[in-house]
Amino acid sequence: MKQASIATAWLGGCSGCHMSFLDMDEWLFELADVADIVYSPIADVKEFPSDVDATLVEGAVANEDNLELALEIRAKSRLVLSFGDCAVSGNVTAMRNPLGDPQQILQNVYVEAPDRDGLIPNAPGIVPPLLPQVRPLHKVIRVDAFLPGCPPPADRIQAALEALLEGALPPNRGEAIRWG
């Protein structure tokens, strides 16, 4: 039987959700027995592969790279999960939204703040431009299931993956969807 293929991706977030993913500890070995992690920030894969069964996406869509990767993930994954509060709601990443124009924010942070060198980082092709507003993943691509939490605790991630491996959607009732 073909192994299930699972990917995890990291957009605009702190990587805390991936830390929590690693907190699944020895269960990760069990996971490796039944599924291949075909793409992940913790695996050194450059290209997002085709025909992924399920992708867990951490982080909000904050810049052009995030957007591009989100679209690619959607095109190449059977199921997409918003993994953690940033993907689900924008969360901390989206706290810049009330402040408006990102250029103005960069100006305030890099130029006007006294302890900076007065330069906005600018490296075309390396530092991706910010989007006008940070958006939750489901406002950019279709999302099949949501796993809130900041981060979602390891046992909830495990429960979600177990469900996915059995061909079901993760539980979305009760404490399984507690935010924060």
């Binding site: 406002k139 979305n172 969807i177 924060g180």
Partner: protein, 247 residues
Amino acid sequence: MRDTRPTVNISFDGVDYEGYVGESVLECARRNGVTIPSLCFLEGLSVWGGCRICVVEVAEGHRLRPACATQVTPDMEIKIETPRLRAYRKSVLELLFAEGNHVCAVCVSNGKCELQDMAVFSGMDHVRYDYQAPRREVDASHPKYVFDPNRCILCTRCVRVCDEIEGAHVWDISYRGEHAELITEMNRPWGDSLSCTWCGKCVAVCPTGSLAYEGRSIGEMEHDPVMIKRLAVARSRGEWLDPEGAI
């Protein structure tokens, strides 16, 4: 204390219960251990009826009514857990989350928040609507308390408790519709308020992290809304040390 009020027969989701004449559907449900979720309602304060979380279906005509403001009547058939009501409750909650800037992860009330609990109860795993991301300034001018309007859901518990129980009327709502916002006095910093008595009742009753003690960090704020009920029982029945009867 035995209740001698006349009773009526009612049902919640098909199960029969006894209600008292003059009692609201919400009170009756609580007394009988039936859960009707609610947010703006708080025992001991006047009924506001604005959050619309507690709407229930009353058999005749399937009109929705706020449980907090509807009195039980004989043979009333009340539905709480219908697919329609579940969907509506979730939508109303999503609207509240979309309206403010609710970031549980960095909130003083994380893990101890009525709004967050309501999301869990209602099965709200994401918000369909656009986040409005309003720009609202935190008021940290008070020496003892902090007001963060980003987390305010306009339940007006603070307005009511300050006016009705403390008698200071420091708080009110300004503007209207999407621009409605809590204010203290002439929309000046709370710390400048001459009428605030520092009694902390507004902080005690806040269902979210909007009103909190100064200096609390993430997840450290615990509110005490039941204080108002205790106070009401103490004042009306002279029972100061009977938390069991009060709660």
